[in-house]
């Protein structure tokens, strides 16, 4: 089978390099970074850290070069989904496109451009070290499921089986919304609190007032999930308390805080903004997620401009 990774950042690279280990899978990588693409074509894609993997593949910045693919795996940041799939949709005329991105709404965006979409949520993480070289920080599971009836479960199982054989444990399920919403609720309830206060995850959880705020955000997210008939695969609260342990992620600085400090756009529209949007569609009030969304939008706006003189 032929698989194209759309957006070969840290997470995309984990899928690309691992899938490239299989004799029966031909991997293509589409990415906007010319340096990254050239390094991959010259030397392969090198993972280090949680696993040492060298993957050989064809990488390109030009979507027109992509051949017809059986599967796509979209791994861009959520705000780049639209542009990425608009450019590459032609390569999936007969194929299936999976998202392993953060947040809500990516499936809907993909479905506006391609026929058959696979919903997905992935927990492994890493970071780009240099063009063609990626640090694999954390191993973890991936869950895939059909977005709608146009995608049969057997096709999802084919992709999940390939990922698992390649070294990325992946399960195919009929309804993948449970893990997706668990991760979204976890991220939406913790990440912006770190960004707005500057506190690490562990220190947020130590303050009773902030921990209570986190729980109120979780409760709103759960209500929106429940209104759609989604059963979470586990309680986000358990994940939050687990992550607060010193040996897990006590000192973790929220990626959203890092985004703000680096003056990058955050994924707030797809996290809290997504919960608010789905809440409106299903008649569930989400005032706190809406408040957090607005505050982080303000934070993005101030980070994007030079400081004003004190008046």
């Amino acid at each position: 089978m032929r698989v194209c990774i759309v957006g070969c950042g840290a997470v995309g690279s984990l899928f690309a390099a691992n899938l490239a280990q299989l004799d029966d899978v031909e991997v293509w990588a589409y990415d906007a970074s010319r340096e990254h693409v050239e390094a991959i074509n010259a030397n392969g894609l090198q993972l280090s850290g949680a696993g040492e993997v060298l993957g050989r593949m064809t990488a390109t910045t030009d979507a027109a070069e992509l051949p017809q693919c059986d599967f796509g795996i979209v791994a861009t940041k959520a705000m780049h989904t639209e542009a990425a799939i608009a450019a590459t949709a032609h390569a999936f005329a007969d194929g299936y496109v999976a998202t392993v991105q953060n947040g809500l709404g990516n499936e809907e965006t993909l479905a506006r451009h391609v026929e058959r979409v696979i919903r997905g949520t992935t927990f492994p993480a890493g970071k780009i070290l240099a063009p063609g070289r990626v640090q694999w920080d954390v191993k973890g599971d991936t869950t895939l499921g059909p977005y709608d009836e146009r995608t049969p479960l057997e096709e999802v199982e084919r992709l999940a089986d390939a990922c698992t054989r390649g070294g990325m444990p992946t399960s195919a399920v009929a309804d993948a919304r449970g893990p997706q919403w668990r991760k979204v609720i976890f991220n939406a309830s913790t990440n912006p609190i770190g960004a707005l206060t500057g506190l690490t995850h562990g220190r947020v959880c130590e303050r009773p007032d902030l921990r209570a705020l986190v729980s109120r955000l979780v409760d709103e997210g759960k209500a929106v999930a429940s209104a759609q008939g989604i059963e979470l695969d586990a309680d986000p609260e358990a994940l939050i308390d687990h992550a607060a342990k010193p040996e897990v992620a006590y000192d973790h600085k929220a990626s959203m805080l890092q985004d703000v400090e680096a003056r990058r756009q955050t994924e707030i529209d797809y996290l809290n903004g997504g919960i608010v949007r789905f809440g409106k569609e299903h008649g569930v009030q989400t005032p706190l997620n809406q408040a957090i969304w607005a505050l982080v939008r303000g934070l993005e706006a101030s980070a994007a401009e030079p400081p004003t003189p004190g008046r």
């Binding site: 206060t197 303050r207 706190l288 957090i292 706006a301 004190g310």
Partner: protein, 300 residues
């Protein structure tokens, strides 16, 4: 009338300098060098006015003439320390608070039996040095009786301020004005501190405007639950202030930028505690309160 201004930040400096033109003014400050500079150079005002006033300054109240009126003009976060510094002093004086938020009067009341006036001020400026303050927004100071004082006492002080070139109005009951400003400050200062944005048109537009509006609605409900009828609508104050044409950085934003303690307890904390005591739900105000306190926690 002999007036002592305790604390010479922006508001204290504006008060001391203006009053110094019409009456005897002493200034109680924390740093010796600040007192020496004031005694040597006087206090200069630029901006809306342009003059230099003579003042007598010291770090020890015992070194100052006995005042008839003490204006405690420090920031809320320094209030108890400043009040403790005059404990047992100035026995014949009336003391007036001017801090943001609620509860400043009670902090001072716990330090001595002085008759108390409360006030809120809308004027603002920028302190350029120990002896130079720029007067930017020439808005009013509202004054009302608090403990063992009358509306006539409030009027006397308001008249003194007006005579010195400032704007002031006396009130029989200051709470309607105090709560209007409390709701305004809890919302605008909190949102500014958390987002890093100065108070400008964005506070009245998408995406922040609806949040600002909802926070103020909660504040209005808390005021109603406390039995207070507001003097002004905080949302209208917000819209008006954002149309003034300059981008004011609220003190809470300045404080978090400089990693200083903020006035979150007197402002947001007072609002939330009053709402809780009166059974008014304020989940958004609680959110802002918790986030600003978390931000302060992140300094260390």
């Amino acid at each position: 009338m002999n007036v002592c201004v305790a604390g010479a930040g922006t508001i204290g400096s504006l008060l001391a300098a203006h009053l110094g033109r019409v009456t005897d003014v002493s200034v109680l400050v924390r740093r010796e060098e600040h007192a020496r500079a004031l005694n040597r150079e006087g206090l200069r005002v630029s901006g809306r006015a342009d003059f230099t006033a003579r003042v007598t300054a010291a770090t020890d109240p015992a070194d100052l003439p006995e005042p008839d009126l003490v204006v405690v003009a420090c920031k809320g976060s320094d209030l108890d320390a400043v009040a403790a510094g005059i404990e047992g002093e100035f026995r014949s004086a009336t003391v007036m608070t001017i801090q943001n938020g609620l509860g400043a009067e009670d902090v001072v009341a716990a330090r001595g039996p002085w008759p108390l006036l409360s006030s809120v001020t809308f004027m603002s400026g920028t302190r350029h040095s120990d002896t130079h303050v720029e007067y930017i927004l020439d808005a009013a100071t509202w004054i009302g009786p608090y403990r063992a004082t009358t509306a006539a006492d409030a009027r006397t002080v308001a008249d003194l301020l007006v005579g010195s070139g400032l704007k002031a109005e006396p009130y029989d009951d200051l709470r309607p004005a105090q709560w209007s400003k409390l709701i305004f400050n809890a919302t605008v200062n909190g949102v500014a501190a958390l987002t890093g944005l100065p108070h400008d048109h964005r506070f009245a537009e998408e995406p922040l405007g609806p949040l600002v509006h909802a926070l103020m609605d909660e504040g209005k409900a808390a005021a109603a639950a406390a039995g207070v009828q507001l003097a002004e609508d905080p949302w209208e104050m917000n819209v008006f202030a954002t149309q003034r044409g300059f981008r004011h950085s609220p003190s809470m934003l300045e404080d978090v930028r400089a990693q200083r303690p903020t006035e979150v307890e007197l402002i947001n904390g007072s609002l939330v505690r009053s709402a809780r005591a009166n059974g008014a739900p304020v989940p958004l105000q609680e959110t802002v309160y918790a986030l600003v306190r978390g931000r302060e926690e992140s300094y260390s």
